[in-house]
């Protein structure tokens, strides 16, 4: 028995938060989509600055993938749909 319930109570909201936002939208590298095109999609759809869009595009290009958004599963599915409409190779995964 724990001396006080404070610890357990404090942990619960943290878990709820993790569950609500524990999903990522990933974009994967492919040899087809042009670098300028991928940057354009990030700026147009996510409204990222050109600098941020370019940085994420380069991460996709050099590391093979990049997490471009984090949030609820439903939000990530909306993003993935929009990215698929642009022909990007995007997936949803649980964040670690």
């Amino acid at each position: 028995m724990t001396p006080a319930g404070g610890t357990a109570v404090a942990e619960r909201p943290a878990e709820v938060t993790a569950d609500l936002t524990g999903w990522n939208t990933l974009v994967w590298d492919d040899p087809i989509n042009l670098m300028s095109y991928v940057t354009h999609v990030f700026v147009t759809y996510f409204k990222f600055s050109h600098a941020k869009a370019t940085r994420l595009m380069m991460q996709v290009h050099t590391e093979g993938r990049s997490v471009v958004a984090t949030g609820t599963r439903e939000e990530m599915e909306t993003h993935v749909n929009a990215l698929h409409a642009y022909g990007l190779w995007a997936t949803v995964e649980r964040s670690e």
Binding site: P31, S36, H40, E77, V80, N81, W89, T91, V92
Partner: protein, 187 residues
């Protein structure tokens, strides 16, 4: 082709007759694969609430899932979970499909207005994203047909003999990249 430039609320380029015919034909091929091709139908989402409802519940055109181009245009959102992917696609794929078909209609209509390249190609800024998505979709479909899965594949294709039947397709694929870059730069 003389590349795109911004003129007021439009992006303007000049295409030769053969280029208009080529792009029209490639866009029409993808459009057909997606169940489009109804010439003369005004683009845009259906205003009939029943049509919209029917589409939303997956009562749309059946796509050939065995076709790798379809697989590339509609990727699995959960690569390790076929059940979740199938469930997601069931509710979203027809809207994606209709979006691509509507975009293709805008592109075909703008190309048609050049009367075989006699007049400049004028793309209203409101249709720029439709053009960008459509040209990219054509490149994706050509890349799948050419088997381009890595940068090395692409480099290998560029070294092939002009007598290879794929030689022309690679040239078209690369030319479309130039067209798309030009469009993106003109925005």
């Amino acid at each position: 082709m003389i590349g795109f430039r911004r003129e007021g609320d439009a992006l303007v380029a000049e295409f030769e007759e053969v280029e208009v015919a080529l792009v029209s034909s490639l866009v029409a091929q993808v459009d057909e694969l997606l169940g489009g091709g109804q010439v003369g139908v005004a683009p845009g989402p259906s205003e009939d609430p029943f049509d919209a409802w029917a589409g939303e519940f997956g009562d749309g055109v059946a796509l050939d899932d065995a076709d790798p181009v379809i697989a590339r245009l509609f990727p699995d959102p959960y690569p390790d979970d076929p059940v979740a992917s199938a469930e997601h696609k069931r509710y979203t794929r027809d809207a994606l499909r209709r979006g691509r078909v509507d975009d293709a209609q805008h592109v075909l209509s703008d190309l048609d207005a050049t009367q075989g390249g006699e007049h400049p190609l004028v793309v209203d800024l409101a249709h720029a994203e439709a053009w960008i998505k459509t040209l990219n979709g054509v490149r994706l479909s050509l890349a799948v047909r050419l088997g381009i899965e890595s940068d090395a594949d692409h480099r290998g294709l560029e070294r092939m003999s002009p007598r290879d039947p794929r030689y022309q397709v690679v040239a078209i694929y690369d030319w479309l990249a130039v067209v798309l870059e030009s469009l993106l730069e003109s925005l």
